[in-house]
Amino acid sequence: MVDATIFDKRPNFMGIFLVTSLIGIMLISLAVYNASRELEAIHEVDNMYRVIHSVLGEEKIEQILRANHAPLQIDVGLNPYRFLILSDKHIEALQTEAKEDVRRLESIDLEDTRVNERGGYFEADNNTYTWAAFTADNSTNQLLVVHTFSSEGVSAIAYVYKKRMIIPVLFYVWLMIWVSLIFNHLLKKLKTQQKLMKHLALHDSLTSLANRSLMEDRLLKLIQVSHRENKKFAFSIIDIDGFKAINDNHGHAYGDELLRQVAKRLKSIMRESDTAARLGGDEFTIMLNNIDEKAWHAAFMRAHTVLIEPYKLFDTTVTVSVSIGVAIYSVHGDDADTLFRHADEAMYVAKAASGGIHLFEELEIEK
């Protein structure tokens, strides 16, 4: 009688958001790492230009370009600066240490590696090299200075992360957790509403029993299963005799309460696999599947006994009679319409005899 649905699953966005956040943070960290290294290289180019310019001066640079000879070694840090002459046609090393740089520079387009008007950097032989170019008024050649770039290393990057990234990253993760909680909550509310709407569409609002649509759907499915497995089931229509009189004498509130109590009593005697439904008005139906003749006979007897017991409706007690008409698949019909019609006819025969389930037995005996 209970529909197990996908709605029972608990929504959870937390994992999705945290995993995507982690991927995003890793990508951003990598980008920051590369950007930091690049900025470091650019800073090195500017620093190199400034050092060379201040140490050599304009005149010395002119002399070097005119005479094509290297200046005195300028060593800053671990890697010395190496000097080359760049003309329109070729690159010429001014020192023996710079010969390897000629090979490297010939394999790249130097202008593509330029980052500003002073110079640029390029990667070759698993190293990064910065370069700065110097010109003189009376020469078309350029003095090229190359330096093997050495990063400040992990500490510099860690400093950048600590200073710039920790708080925004923590804030971002915090925000993602809240966003996922909001999504979870909204989805949960949406699913609850969907479940409620589905329940309202398939159940009777007064008694919470299955309505006619759901009953018809379950009857069709039961016929398919019983046909496939060559089994019988009992389909019955139940009518509450005297319901109209209660409505007229006591009011609709009493009639509604009577229907609620009838539904409650029906539910109390049904198995989980059986279906009880309200067809409308004072008519109900129950389907007992996978059951032998003795068992369904006993079940309907029990239903009748339970339903004719007095009902306490607010300030009064009423007693009603009940007419139950039963049709058996596939004895009295092998399709929904026939079964329904036969059960209805049986119910009217019972009703004509002032209610009871004996009529059903008599009907069966007659047949």
Binding site: R164, I167, H185
Partner: protein, 79 residues
């Protein structure tokens, strides 16, 4: 979704928010102890202010939109 703006946090929650909010403001905009990065300082300032404000009013809008709360009836009646 209709916001009700009803109190939704208990005294422990308020206390923790007051401490966290003050700490964020002191470590961020006031002393720049953790970092002097402007974006980080702004984030800490905004979050600290929001935490303090929510502690003062016993109301957190994020609790409301996520269906959470740390208050119970006895706390509410005491307030």
């Amino acid at each position: 979704m209709i916001l009700e703006f009803r109190r939704n946090m208990n005294h422990w929650d308020r206390g923790l928010r007051a401490i966290a909010g003050s700490s964020l403001l002191i470590l961020g905009p006031v002393t720049e102890y953790i970092t002097s990065d402007s974006i980080s300082v702004i984030i800490m300032g905004v979050l600290g202010s929001v935490a303090l404000t929510s502690a003062i009013f016993s109301y957190c809008i994020l609790y409301e939109v996520t269906g959470l709360n740390t208050i119970n009836n006895s706390d509410e009646s005491n307030d």
